[in-house]
């Protein structure tokens, strides 16, 4: 019998738990045009959208590291208006389940973005990127202050009907505490985790490799940390919300590990750069894995870790 891969993120039902991570898939056009029908994915999470277009950082913006890469793109994006008029119609036309990642410099930005996108029929859910500096609070990141993270979450949640996912930053030391604050503030689901701040140095030139000096580390190098954070939050949560596991997933075994650690769904990120068909391949491979392991429903895997 065909196994059930459907999962729920708040009220939103995904056809399978394989999503693609913000910033690694653009707005979906390149993949759909060249490689596969992106409506096959559980969801497409768009590049982070801000109210106004953002130019991004100076170059070099990317650097390869051991089993991973650093990036400091600087959240370059087309801005809300152009997203709605130029990018969203395409996602809607190809029937992609679309989750829009949003970012702001102050709480009002997030609220305005979320409210506007909540009205758009092509948008199925909102993912809050809280790894951004809060301009009003002296530049401290929303994601490294549980009270601030809770405040932005509740401010947005009050104003929208669609499911709200909050993407947590690993650059805060107590992930279960952060998760509790955000869930209590109304998050329907948690994405765990964003990139870890790191740096690369060119020893010959005695200079940082990235123009921005620091960047976000991604790829298999961060997978053990991401698994630990998913597992910690899953085990510590009293009020259970779906967890979307993210961090260095490269193959089907990685997907299963994240599900076992407590994820209901996963996001494929940097692997899209290495193998452009990986996310679609993983949808097929996950179904095959379930058939081979006699698993009728994907929910059986979530939190199935034996400890």
């Amino acid at each position: 019998m065909k196994p059930n891969l459907k999962v729920k993120i708040g009220k939103l039902e995904l056809k399978n738990p394989i999503m693609v991570a913000s910033g690694t898939f653009g707005y979906g056009e390149e993949f759909h045009k060249n490689f596969y029908d992106i409506s096959k994915l559980g969801a497409v999470v768009t590049k982070g959208i801000s109210l106004k277009p953002r130019l991004g950082n100076k170059t070099p913006r990317v650097a390869e590291t051991a089993s991973g890469m650093l990036n400091s793109i600087g959240l370059q994006n087309v801005g809300l208006r152009a997203f709605i008029t130029e990018k969203l119609p395409f996602l809607q036309r190809v029937h992609a389940t679309t989750i829009v990642n949003i970012l702001g410099e102050k709480i009002e930005d997030y609220v305005e973005l979320a409210q506007t996108l909540d009205e758009e029929p092509g948008v199925h859910a909102i993912e809050l990127n809280i790894s951004c500096p809060n301009v009003k609070a002296g530049g401290v990141q929303f994601g490294t202050d549980p009270k601030l993270a809770a405040k932005v979450t509740s401010s947005v949640k009050k104003k929208i009907k669609k499911p709200l996912i909050v993407k947590l930053s690993p650059n805060y030391h107590d992930m279960p505490l952060m998760a509790k604050h955000v869930v209590d503030a109304g998050a329907d689901a948690l994405s765990i985790m964003n990139t870890i701040t790191g740096m690369a140095i060119d020893a010959e030139k005695r200079r940082p490799v990235l123009a921005n000096v620091f960047g976000g580390l991604s790829g298999p190098a961060i997978k053990p940390i991401a698994l630990r954070m998913v597992c910690q939050v899953y085990m510590a949560s009293k009020k259970q919300r779906p967890i979307v596991g993210i961090g260095g997933i490269m193959n089907i075994t990685d997907v299963v590990e994240f599900l076992l650690a407590g994820s209901s769904a996963v996001q494929i990120g940097t692997a899209n750069f290495i193998n452009p068909t990986i996310a679609a391949d993983l949808v097929d491979q996950l179904e095959q894995y379930m058939i081979d392991h006699d698993i009728a429903d994907i929910k059986e895997l979530t939190g199935g870790l034996i400890v």
Partner: protein, 262 residues
Amino acid sequence: MQDTKAKILLNERYRQNYFMMRLEAGWEDFVPGQFVMVAVPGGKSFLRRPFGIARLTGEGILEICYKVVGKGTLDLSSVPVGTNLQVLGPIGKGFDISKGTGNISILVAGGYGIAPLLGLAEALVQEEDRSNIHLFYGAQNEEHLLYLDEFKEMGIGLHVATQDGSLGAKGLVTDELKKFLLSTINHQPSTIFACGPHGMLGAIKMIAAKNRNISSCQLSMESYMACGLGVCAGCVVKDSLGNFVRVCKEGPVFEARELSDI
């Protein structure tokens, strides 16, 4: 663009630290100036590596010429013939030869920037009078000049410069270009196609801006790159409006006047 498993037919040292690789890609077509992203086997290189396409034969055999500059290219240089590599391509916007129809075509290369100009020259000789095609080619010394025999066979104008004078004129190739523009074609419409180090491209942009007979000056840009797909926004350069544009999507070939940080 497609992601193809391609068998290595040739992977050998050409000269110095330059290697030539031929792959059975089976692709039908490409635009000179486009590039590929190659997955390097061995597990030490996480990201794919970008290389300009030197040429693509009628049988779909892809040729690239690369310099060993780091661990990725070092590992690539030891991959045996017969191995299958994942090759993504052809990527990006190549040279636009339709802009220069009837013009004098001036190709300018620095170092291993010559590779994409080989395919370009092969396309141009099909369309244009060979006496109207000129290659200006500069390198450190004679040992760093690649594909010279191929260009000689085409019967186009060859203008070589080496920094030590071991072959051709001694000095910078851009100085040779300036002399040529002053002496011969000042009143003939011309198109420049260039690939090479950043400094050389900057000098060419200045030369082109001062010469009103150069109707199009197309520069092939190099950049650090993660995906080659147009999605990571890692490879950007600044355009004349101050926006960042992607080398892998809007480029790698740009009109010089559309770029601001060169």
